[in-house]
């Protein structure tokens, strides 16, 4: 269980305004970390910091071996692809290999093979020649997951991947991500779906307004007062 990413007293924000302060947590290989929090609490901002796209205001982010910036598989929140974008599934999955290709203008046979393997793993081999925009929401997310796998086989960072999917597609995607985790891929999942978090997560990071409310194992979270309140409020909402 080696630590892959550790944050110590990290504060994040945009041009002077602090979004969230004093985050301290760590992710070890094989973990399934859920980052919970209301809209606007700074989850996506944290994701950008973990990816190395956005420097933190203060604090320290350390990355272990093989998870340097650029080696983390990323599934952005709502990839806004224009409605008329022509791109085949294979083209998109292959573009995940760019992180390793440096200045080389073409993909190698090994990279093509890894793209094929990623598609196989996510059950989308049959869609390889299809146009991305003609797929269902669930299929599209699988394509983007396969692309993330090509970029990094060890750790995936997923920003609200099930948003906008119908319930069945949500369950399918959760199962798929759970399967990848059981195969040893570290998962960091951003969500506000506490139900799914209790089902799949090994660890939970809960961000409130401007501060960290909880970090620990999912079991401890369910027993904590923060966790119990949040779970109860979500259940009440679902009963409406």
């Amino acid at each position: 269980m080696s630590i892959q990413i550790a944050c110590k007293n990290v504060s994040l924000g945009y041009e002077g305004s602090i979004v969230t302060e004093d985050l301290s947590f760590s992710v070890s290989s094989g973990d399934y970390l859920y980052i919970l929090g209301e809209n606007g609490s700074g989850k996506s901002t944290l994701v950008k910091a973990l990816l190395g796209l956005k420097p933190q205001i203060s604090g320290e982010i350390t990355r272990g071996e093989g998870v340097a910036a650029g080696q983390i598989g990323y599934l952005p929140q709502q990839t806004v692809v224009q409605r008329d974008f022509p791109a085949s599934v294979r083209e998109i999955v292959l573009s995940g290999c760019l992180s390793k290709s440096g200045l080389r203008p073409f993909y190698t046979a090994a990279e093509r093979a890894s793209a094929n393997a990623a598609m196989e793993r996510l059950g989308i081999t049959g869609l390889a020649k299809r146009c991305y925009r003609e797929l269902s929401g669930g299929q599209q997310q699988r394509v983007l997951l396969a692309r993330a796998l090509c970029a990094a086989g060890k750790i995936l960072l997923l920003d609200e991947p099930v948003t906008g999917l119908d319930p069945k597609a949500q369950v399918d995607l959760y199962e798929m991500i759970g399967k990848l985790n059981s195969e040893g891929v570290t998962i960091i999942m951003v969500s506000h779906d506490v139900g799914a978090a209790m089902r799949y997560a090994s660890h939970i990071l809960h961000i409130g307004s401007h501060k960290q409310l909880f970090f620990g194992t999912a079991e401890d979270y369910a027993k904590s007062s923060v966790g119990r309140t949040f779970i109860a409020s979500e259940e009440a909402e679902n009963d409406d």
Partner: protein
């Protein structure tokens, strides 16, 4: 039919016709390659703005009666391309306003200068040929052709070399950045190549019609094809064929070269739209 062929055969005896053909096809090829990316990234406004900037720069060059106009036009257009891209990225609305300001401003200054310092007796003809392309494509010197060939090789080579990165940055910039692709660098590269193409294409179709050369083949290809690569290839073929047809037609029936090419592009767009409608209907 045989009559037409013999006329064409006769025309191709002239070196200026061959030059026009080479230059025309190369420009069409270059602009169509970039066109797909520009359309998909919603950057086509940059092409439009730049062409007006190039017009302004061209009139300044004409007024100062520089022998090599490109000495002014090229750097001005390049710098504007980078500036427009920067402002366009910050906030959408401000970017659009900036483009409108720069392009209309450049048009006004250009037209004013041409009037204050007329270089020939016929200002409206000068303006018209700068805006809509001139017959100067039929009066190319070997040095013009050489410049065009070199620039085209640079553009096409850059495009092929960075094809995969350009795809990634066009499709999903945030993912590309996360995997360590220098998205800003490639955006700048795209803007710079666009500026090169616009300067090249000024002579062929004029500054008002350049956007058409960039956008139409891409839009046509997107009607029929579903993968990035096939759209690029189709767009290149459409653009080259339309340019060839346009140049030939303009020689045969002596219409203006630029607008004939654009009309051919428009015709293909309409045909492709109809085909895609028909295909979709038959699928349903």
């Amino acid at each position: 039919m045989t009559e037409i062929i013999s006329t064409l055969h006769e025309f191709f005896q002239f070196s200026f016709v061959r030059y026009a053909f080479i230059v025309g096809l190369l420009i069409a090829l270059c602009s169509s390659l970039l066109g797909v990316t520009l359309v998909l990234k919603r950057f086509s406004f940059i092409g439009d703005g730049l062409s007006h900037v190039a017009f302004g720069a061209m009139s300044v060059a004409a007024v100062t009666s520089l022998t090599n106009q490109n000495l002014i036009v090229l750097p001005v257009t390049l710098i504007s391309a980078i500036l427009l891209l920067r402002t366009g990225q910050n906030t959408r609305i401000k970017g659009d306003a900036a483009v409108a300001m720069i392009s209309v401003g450049a048009l006004a200054i250009g037209y004013m200068l041409m009037n204050i310092f007329p270089t020939s007796g016929n200002i409206s003809a000068d303006v018209c040929s700068t805006l809509f392309g001139s017959f100067s494509i039929l009066a190319l010197k070997p040095s013009d052709v050489r410049l065009c060939v070199i620039m085209s090789i640079i553009v096409i080579g850059t495009f092929i070399f960075f094809y995969n990165k350009i795809f990634a940055v066009t499709f999903d910039e945030s993912f590309a950045k996360a995997t360590g692709v220098k998205a800003e660098l490639y955006n700048t590269l795209i803007a710079v190549i666009t500026a090169l193409i616009i300067v090249l294409a000024m002579n062929l179709v004029g500054s008002l019609l350049i956007s058409a050369l960039i956008i139409f083949p891409a839009l046509s290809a997107m009607r029929l094809f579903r993968s990035f690569r096939s759209v690029i290839i189709c767009s290149a073929v459409v653009s080259v064929v339309c340019a060839a047809a346009g140049i030939l037609l303009s020689i045969l029936v002596s219409t203006p070269v630029g607008s004939t090419i654009v009309v051919a592009d428009l015709a293909v767009f309409l045909v492709f739209s109809l085909i895609s409608k028909a295909v979709r209907r038959s699928v349903k």
